[in-house]
């Protein structure tokens, strides 16, 4: 809009500030709560200004035995979450790249049949097929393992479909000129297709990392060993642990730690992410 009236500027700023405040307030409270000691957090009213126990809480949360019950230290959960999110992201990207490559560039019987089979699974989220999947994973002996946490979430119709669309925008002449240059199919895949899909891979990585990191139901089902719990599911468990009152300072510190990696990934890959979603020039 080219309009530039002071009153409009004030109103638009007010609306924006209100929006930011609504989103930022809970995060602020989390941070504040993570910086007070346990006793203060059980008194009313809840504090709105930071306290002095941030570093203590951080130490206790990450490494300490200050948590009630027999939970693993939070660094272990962070590591588990990170491992799961990474395995899901890389696994999904690798498999969907290869399957999209097969569907777009190779002629084989029932090619469209396979495409539609993959496409139809888009309509089946993890939750719908969770019982049979659990059965399979249990029979394979993968309960309480990183493989069990990640493999069932790896097969992905969305990513395959996305890469198919990306590959379809790459002109046929690119393949033909690579063939004349003497590049075989895998060479073409590595030297031409991968670099050309670089930004799309980055965008997908951001989405998948957050998807993997935020998994709740599946880890809850298949991990019974406290060493294998992920951070997202453990926050919920902390609230319910034993009969004692919840240790809000520790819980909030855990929540804060759980928020950090997705934020880092988004901020770090922002530029590629936006390019990947908007770029059309091939």
């Amino acid at each position: 809009m080219v309009e530039n009236r002071p009153i409009m500027t004030v109103i638009t700023h007010l609306v924006l500030i209100l929006g930011v405040a609504m989103i930022a307030l809970p995060i602020w409270i989390t941070l504040v709560a993570a910086s007070h000691d346990e006793i203060r957090m059980l008194q009313a009213p809840i504090p709105l200004l930071p306290g002095t126990h941030f570093i203590d809480n951080l130490k206790q949360t990450l490494f300490g035995a200050g948590l009630s019950g027999d939970q693993a230290p939070v660094w272990r959960m962070l590591f588990n979450s990170l491992a799961m999110a990474m395995m899901i992201s890389f696994g999904k990207i690798a498999i969907s790249l290869i399957s999209a490559f097969a569907i777009v560039y190779f002629k084989f019987p029932f090619r469209m049949g396979f495409f539609w089979m993959i496409f139809i699974t888009l309509m089946l989220p993890v939750e719908v097929r969770i019982l049979p999947t659990f059965e399979v994973v249990a029979n394979l002996g993968l309960l309480n393992s990183y493989w069990g946490l990640s493999i069932p979430l790896i097969a992905s119709a969305t990513a395959t479909f996305m890469f198919r669309q990306v590959f379809l925008t790459i002109p046929d002449e690119m393949l033909e000129s690579a063939r004349i240059d003497g590049a075989g199919p895998m060479r073409f895949f590595w030297d031409i297709l991968l670099p050309l899909s670089r930004t799309n891979i980055a965008a997908l990585f951001v989405i998948l990392f957050i998807y993997g990191w935020n998994q709740y139901l599946w880890p809850l089902l298949i991990t019974t060993d406290t060493d294998m719990t992920t951070i997202v599911m453990s926050i919920k468990q902390m609230l319910e642990s034993a009969e004692q009152s919840p240790q809000w300072n520790i819980i909030m510190m855990t929540a804060f730690l759980a928020m950090l990696p997705p934020i880092l990934v988004v901020v770090g890959m922002q530029k590629l992410f936006v390019q990947g979603l908007t770029e059309t020039d091939k």
Binding site: E173, S177, A178, R179, D181, G182
Partner: protein, 351 residues
Amino acid sequence: MAEIKLENLTKSYGSTEVLHHVAGDIDDGEFIVIVGPSGCGKSTLLRMVAGLEVVSSGQISINGNVVNDLEPADRDIAMVFQNYALYPHMTVRDNMAYGLKIRKIPKDEITRRVDEVADILEIREYLDRKPRQLSGGQRQRVAMGRAIIREPSVFLFDEPLSNLDAKLRVQMRLEIRKLQKRLGVTSIYVTHDQVEAMTLGDRLMVLNGGYVEQFDTPIELYERPASLFVAGFIGSPSMNFIPADIASGVVTLANGANLATGSKTSGKVTLGIRPEHMVPDKSGVIKIEVDMLEQLGANTLVHGILQGTDISFVISLDGIQTAKIGEILSFHAPESSLHLFNVETGVRLNG
């Protein structure tokens, strides 16, 4: 260095045949242009030689080796595409070196060849740029460089100039021609532009609807077109066609005018006369009623109709000429400029 033999080539998609029994021998070092209207199968034919399309039947051989079942990379060819097909993520240098790298040619040899080709094409200062930072003409040069650097036996060009503006096209046309003569590499060039075809080709293969209409030198195509299609396609403005009758060497036009020819055929024919072969002549038998004039400076195009009929007629006159609309102009056409074609088959009748 290579000669190419096309024998009885046919291409079908499903049950539709798009190329019919194409045949032709191409000599070593020859520049062949395949020309025809869009959809005539010229690109398909080129892609069959390149190995990008499967041959349905017939045989292609390069240098005596049948290449029907060889991968494009093994045919010793290089191809320049219409949209250049440069790899957007590689620099100009890497684009040109890619084919050599795959062939496992040593690094210093690759560098030497890239520099050499860059000098020939005058693209040295762009070697470290990405294709998107280049103009159309520069991309075109890089695409050529990528073909030359491989030192192939055959160059294939698929309408390489159609994305350039008119001035650049003329300039690149000359450069391609010079380069091809200098390197002496057998080349096949596809275009729909008959001027490009006439200026570039040692010989032209005119395709129409998947059939080879004529395969000969540009001058031969112009002077003795083998069919009505070739006659209309080659030359600009295109040849005038008039329904006529012929008996004992005399052609009678639809309006009753008589012209002498040496031909011995008789019956109904289509007479063709090129616009530039009409000679103004007060006593000429071809009378044209002027409809419109186009002044082009070097010549003047007179659009009109043959008097007494509604057959449109174009005449090209040298220099700047004037005439009033509705005026009747008289011309004669020398016997050597009369082309006779069979009415049904379009085949040339006079020798």
